[in-house]
């Protein structure tokens, strides 16, 4: 996150709208994500020229073209590595990675896990539509088992990745989930990711209305969403349901959904703690399990040493120890001789 004082007058949503026509399919969830980003960015307290958006390839990865900031639409899967170079070159920049489920978890899986274990101060927004949008609808590493697509006419055979379990396993220091349709919540997740120092990972459920319409419908439809979405709030019991009468109880080591009433009271429920990795991991595993609600919000947030900060400390340390590098002395070497 950039530290320097903001010098420009207060920015406004329109300052972040580029002159490029947005080319996603009408109705695509990407629009909502773009709109929320443009809305919250003026409030992040950073000069516009310090924002850099780096994306890979996919429908979602077109995002940087539409943000009036610095942007680089790169190659498939490599955005985290490019972004790492940007951040290391200039830690003063606020660097955002925009990626899709195929981009981040298939071709770019390796870069994703390594970015997170290094904990560079980079914010990743994963647009998870559980499908390959840009290549017209093949199943993705987050598509549910048995998914029928053009490339899997008899159903996909590989179990899906659970992105947040994967990123928690890579020791990401900030892990959250949002939904394209939950606009206010999405804004707050973007804000939280921005203020976190270290790698932030937001998985955003995004509807691809062309190739995977309704993938998250149970979580966005008015009738069902209160029973399928669990809103995480730090230090609050894990409650959900239209009447807020259901919650998560830990039975031994196993989470269970319980209904509040005669047998269970709110005091029996697990209290969310953003600094507890075990809770975060457990919550991440609710995904793809029909008996559990799908958590959204901040799963995990802890302060860990930040890579680029440590790199600069090493540089300072080396300078302190050896003095500022003397290029002529280096060229001369320790053993040299003169020919008369």
């Amino acid at each position: 996150m950039a530290e320097t004082k903001v010098k420009t007058p207060k920015l406004d949503r329109r300052d972040f709208v580029s002159d490029q026509a947005v080319r996603w399919c009408p109705g695509c969830g990407d629009y909502a994500i773009l709109a929320q980003t443009q809305k919250v960015f003026p409030d992040l307290g950073v000069d516009r020229e310090k924002f850099v958006f780096i994306s890979g390839i996919g429908c979602s990865s077109r995002f940087p073209y539409y943000m009036n900031a610095y942007g680089f639409h790169t190659i498939h899967g490599r955005a985290p590595a490019i972004a790492s170079g940007v951040k290391l070159a200039n830690p003063d920049l606020s660097v955002w990675v925009i990626t899709g489920d195929g981009d981040a978890l298939s071709i770019g899986g390796n870069h994703t896990i390594h970015l997170l274990r290094r904990n560079l101060d980079i914010n990743v927004m994963l647009f998870n539509n559980r499908i390959y949008g840009l290549t017209k609808g093949q199943y993705s590493p987050t598509s549910e088992l048995g998914k029928i697509t053009k490339s899997t006419p008899l159903g996909s055979l590989d179990r899906p990745f659970n992105p947040l379990a994967l990123v928690l396993g890579s020791h990401a220091s900030f892990v959250a989930r949002a939904i394209d349709r939950e606009t206010a919540h999405l804004q707050s997740m973007i804000q939280r990711a921005h203020s976190h120092k270290g790698s932030s990972y937001i998985e955003i459920y995004q509807n691809c209305n062309i190739f995977n319409d309704g993938a998250f419908a149970p979580m966005t439809d008015r009738e069902t969403k209160s029973d399928t979405v669990l809103r995480l709030e730090n230090k609050k019991p894990l409650l959900f349901g239209a009447e807020m009468n259901k919650g998560i109880f830990i039975d031994g080591h196993t989470p269970k959904v319980v209904e509040l009433g005669d047998k269970w009271s709110i005091d029996d429920l697990l209290v969310h703690d953003e600094t507890d990795w075990t809770i975060a991991m457990m919550l991440s595993n609710f995904t793809y399990q029909d008996d559990f609600p799908n958590p959204i919000g901040v799963f995990y947030c802890v302060d860990e040493p930040v890579y680029e900060v440590m790199l600069n400390e090493q540089i300072e340390f080396a300078i302190k120890n050896k003095g500022n590098g003397d290029i002529q002395a280096l060229i001369d070497g320790a053993d040299n001789w003169v020919v008369e």
């Binding site: 420009t8 580029s18 490029q20 516009r48 020229e49 310090k50 924002f51 850099v52 958006f53 780096i54 390839i57 940087p64 073209y65 900031a69 610095y70 942007g71 680089f72 639409h73 790169t74 190659i75 490599r78 985290p80 590595a81 490019i82 972004a83 790492s84 170079g85 940007v86 951040k87 290391l88 070159a89 200039n90 003063d92 920049l93 390796n110 870069h111 390594h114 790199l311 090493q314 540089i315 340390f317 080396a318 300078i319 120890n321 050896k322 003095g323 500022n324 590098g325 290029i327 002529q328 280096l330 060229i331 001369d332 070497g333 053993d335 040299n336 001789w337 003169v338 020919v339 008369e340």
Partner: protein, 611 residues
Amino acid sequence: MSIKTKNLDKVVIRFAGDSGDGMQLTGTRFTETTAIVGNDLSTLPDYPAEIRAPAGSLAGVSAFQLHFSSKKIHTPGDQPDVLVAMNPAALKVHLSELRPGGIIIVNENAFSSKNLKLAGYESNPLEDGTVDSYEIYSVQMSTLVAKACEGMDISPKTVDRTKNMFALGLLYWIYNRPLEPTIKWLGKKFAKRPELVDSNIKALNTGYNYGETVEIFTTRFAVDKAPLSAGKYRNINGNYATSVGLLAGSIKANIPLFYGGYPITPASDILHTLASFRHFGVKTFQAEDEIAGITSAIGSSFAGNLGVTASSGPGIALKGEAIGLAVIAELPLVIVNVQRGGPSTGLPTKTEQADLFQALYGRNGEAPVPVIAAQTPGDCFYAAFEACQIAIKYRTPVFLLTDGYLANGSEPWSIPNFDDLPIIDPNFATQNDDLPFMPYDRDEKTLARPWAIPGTAGLEHRIGGLEKEDLTGNVSYDPENHHKMTELRGQKVQNIVDDIPKTEVLGNESGDVLILSWGGTYGSCRSATERLQNDGKKVSHVHLRWINPLPKDLGEILIRFNNILIPELNMGQLFKVIRADYLVDAIGLNLVKGRPFKASDIVDKVKETIG
């Protein structure tokens, strides 16, 4: 008995032993001392890919060849005059290359029946006549160092490891070299383990005194200082020179050096070296793979650093897609390929030049990349510096080709004065309120686009791998525009010819044969040319540094020779380029045996060609 001292012009020594015998270190020490003595020299380390092949086996033999002379030399030598063989396997592998009647020095203790068997000897070659035609010195090195270190509180195994210092000491005596530089070095190297300093120095002295006292050597040799031009010299190897050249480039451009890379033989030493330059502000990033290595470097260039990556063939293959991105994004980037034998994993520790096509063409689409090749270990410094200059000036990825031989080989290097190197102007774009910012506007002369780095207010813009619209840089699928942009990118690289100096011809401007070379074969080709010219042959030599673009004046030079001979450590890559570009009927000389050309290989080919 009196010992005579004989003067020699040149000597080629090959140190060979088991991987665990410390032959690279021994060779390097002899090299450093020889450099300080003032000889010209050239080295060829040759080690197995396995870190510890079974002890005593043929596969585990590691060697280091050193050519030193009182004259200017260009190669590590065609044939060793002296073979130091620390075990039977080393003798077996290298004996056939020793000059007839040459000197062999062996560690007799290592010629046990077990080791003989491992080396595939049925009987002891020291006794069965195998080495009778050579001048053989069979020395019980292990016994002698054990005696020398008697009473010291160190394990017999550790003592035995000092036998390489014994061999070194003995060679110092034979070739009249001082012990002090090695003693000083040992003191530094083992500063934390004084017992190792002591034992190694004892072994070194014992070897030296052995020569002096045991009256088996009748002759010592002296090789006088070489007539190097006046100035300050050091010994330098190619990977180190490359690293320092890159750093020098970034300092002259006044922008930080960012290195993203993944370890691979024989390029890893560039990563190691740059990692030790933290006090210069150098940022090295050991990435998760080669793709992340180059893409992080591209990211750093986008943000205003000088992005660099280095690898060898297999890693360069992985970087291909990202190089295309740097081409279309038109960002400065230096890509070093320290070539090794291929294809696939190939011969990791052996030299080859077979990645020229990969550098020129190994990408999808029309993706021209300038290619420069270093010609000697010391030249890696200048080639790296030049690569930085061109990358920044033209906003383009630049390929720097070196190879395993240049990377690990070393030579005395005339130390440049940093202040004499040119300033490199990064010429970052700045805001101009009157005009809208055009990220793909171009400099009229070079066709370079502006380098507008994040953090610059008013220049916010987006780039990417999709085709760009001329000037605005917006995504464009327009066919006319694509054609135009393809031409612009091509022309921009072509414009670099204006930065390439006039081609130097060694020898006459016309004649029977022109030897045309590139990269690490420079030394062999130059030596061959000198020999042929001394023989009265009408032979000249041109060595190319830039292979893309080729120098403007090359065509007119080529047509003045009856034959063009292109020696390459590949199956004919520059050969095909030259034939295609200049329609000349060039002849190839192609060898992929994991070692540099011998000058004699080239001499023979020329003689075969012109009779």
